[in-house]
Symmetry: C2
Subunit: 388 residues, 2 copies
């Protein structure tokens, strides 16, 4: 039986990643009152460097207060360990006599756990607990963190559509999402009616073409007098290159250690603004980059999301008892349930938004897409239809 | 006694401008059950063009539903009428036999009312009811619309500070505000403690200098390991020119009918991003443009703001009975009260954020500034201090 659990958080923070931390810590306390729970600071980097806090010394109340706070309380990391790095992590885990290692994060985090599980030869139970606002993990119906971020995006687009009824024009909101369009599509979740924005949705799964974009904006303006657009940071052209890569001069492009071009920031926003100014001159057009605003926003924490994230953490302890793997949130036709799946089914793989979440001939969210969103984030606010 | 009231909404929408509309419409019903209330579509443009809806035919319930919906339900306009345009408005008011005209908006709207009051020679009671997220109206302690927008900004910066504790770097959030820095300073309202962001606040009232900015960011990074910046769209250099004007090539600058340079959009954001990349190379830096997100966001409507906006609308009917003027929200030392002030005291004038809301030697919000914000928007969310 496990006596020492190590927990860490990886990748981009979310509104509820601390719920998963709390769920795991409190489940250890419930099942193994004498066990020690260590939290590694800044993910596997803290494990390697021996930087830990002792979570099992905190009161239930202190842990619940952390749970209700957005962002990763232990700190996070973007490190993508190779095998040598993984050896150093294992040394760090052995140094604190860890029996189980729970790593909360996305598909890169599952990838790290996959290497560690193999390298440790079963000595340490390696569990991946899911987390990502991108909603792009295989085996999951949806992921903890997504619903809260989606509620931010849905509320923002409902509000902006109302704003642009009052003062007509074109609005483009750029939403995080490198490979998966779920969060961008969530812009449509709380649309008032068929006439309401977002009128157009551009996601990484369907290629973006300037001429078509401008034509779609123009015809929406003609029809509705305004045009509200939700666009993923990761939209790419027919050649598969991201729009940022095509639009920003190479000497100004920024890349991370892995060679991935930096998508956040204002490059795409400004490029789209210039495009609209050139191709639809004289039309009022505004572009905002949502960036970090949806992902850990204290004003839009979903209760469902918080509860599911907590449950995923608690289930991770059961998963550790079973030897490790990846915790997945699945839908059984009635409710969301936690299942244990192999790390290899999730590690390094991306779940894309299904093609039929958009209309076939039109960059709008389909009824299938809207049904999925309505199940996860039922309408939270009522709004009266304006006179204009 | 007035028998026909006309109400219109001008300028940028807010989360609670419909509360003011509802307050006025329901107060007419209470005091003059037989009176007619017309709503002009798209502000004075609708008055001139004879486009009205009859608000007095709606049920109380319908009016309350509109009140709870953000953005201007009647539509708005950016038109700044000159004297000829005002003559056309008066004709439009006479055509519907208006005894009183309530125009909800900012200082431009008060300016229009000032011209109309004079031109009508007292025939029509012209009332300005206050509204602006910029909080920049003379005679007002604060303005309806500000608190809700400020709550969005305060919650966002609290959340982003937590995010950047987990994954350190530089963050700049660009917030609406051409002449007044109140909304940007609201970023500090819910800071967790002295160590927390926003560490630096740049507002139009204090000039911006690149060298100093970069030094302040660098020293904040050294001290806290992260640097969270709130910056107004309207920041200007020592020569008084807005940063956008100095940074964006003239051929790409956009101007409105009044020659004002367009500040919203991503120009400033991208310029700041380039500045940081050049002067602090290798540092992780992210810039988001908040733009339209705070101003009418359905997720952050403040109850205080909603109530005060409703009361300002109701008071506007009393003001009409007294012959017209501008409704101002003032603070009597204990609570917010509505007062009637001359239109000329508000029209076309700008209230700036007091100099002592920032520290004298440091671009941070002072205790005086924080006290003002705490009175208007008491802390709404609790957050536990993270381990990092």
């Amino acid at each position: 039986m496990a006596e020492t659990f190590v927990i860490a958080q990886g990748g981009g923070p979310t509104a509820v990643i601390n719920q998963t931390l709390a769920g795991a810590a409190l489940e250890v306390r419930r099942r193994f009152p004498a066990a020690k729970v260590l939290g590694a600071l800044h993910g596997v980097r803290g494990v390697r460097e021996g930087r830990f806090v002792t979570l099992s010394e905190l009161s239930d109340e202190q842990i619940r207060a952390i749970a209700a706070t957005p962002s990763a309380a232990l700190g996070s990391t973007r490190d993508k360990p190779d095998e040598a790095y993984c050896e150093a992590i294992l040394k760090g885990l052995d140094a604190v006599h860890a029996d189980a290692f729970i790593y909360i994060g996305g598909n890169d985090t599952a990838g790290t756990q996959s290497i560690l599980a193999e390298a440790s030869g079963g000595r340490i139970a390696c569990v991946h607990a899911p987390k990502t606002i991108d909603n792009d993990l295989m085996e999951n119906d949806h992921t903890p963190g997504f619903i809260s971020a989606a509620e931010f995006v849905a509320g923002a687009f409902l509000s902006i559509d109302l704003d642009f009824r009052a003062l007509p024009g074109i609005y483009v909101g750029i939403v995080m999402g490198r490979h998966a369009g779920f969060l961008t599509a969530a812009a449509a979740a709380w649309s008032l009616d068929e006439e309401s924005g977002p009128h157009l949705v551009y996601v990484p799964e369907r290629y973006f073409e300037r001429t078509r974009f401008v034509e779609e904006v123009r015809s929406t303006l003609d029809r509705h007098g305004r045009c509200i657009v939700a666009m993923s940071e990761g939209v790419a052209g027919p050649d598969g290159r991201s729009l940022v890569e095509s639009l920003v001069p190479p000497e100004l492009q920024e890349r991370d250690q892995h060679g991935n071009i930096r998508l956040s920031g204002t490059d795409l926003g400004q490029a789209v603004e210039r495009m609209l100014a050139a191709d639809l001159p004289g039309k009022r057009a505004r572009v905002d980059t949502f960036g970090y605003l949806p992902r850990g926003n204290i004003a839009t924490i979903s209760e469902t999301d918080a509860r599911e994230a907590f449950e995923a953490g608690a289930f991770a302890i059961e998963a550790a008892e079973q030897g490790g793997g990846s915790v997945a949130l699945q839908f059984d036709g009635e409710k969301t349930v936690c299942k244990l799946v192999p790390l290899s089914a999730v590690a390094g793989r991306t779940r894309h938004m299904p093609e039929n979440f958009l209309l076939p001939d039109n960059n709008r969210v389909s009824v299938t897409g809207l049904d999925y969103l309505a199940r996860l984030l039922p309408r939270k606010y009522s709004a009266a239809k304006p006179f204009v």
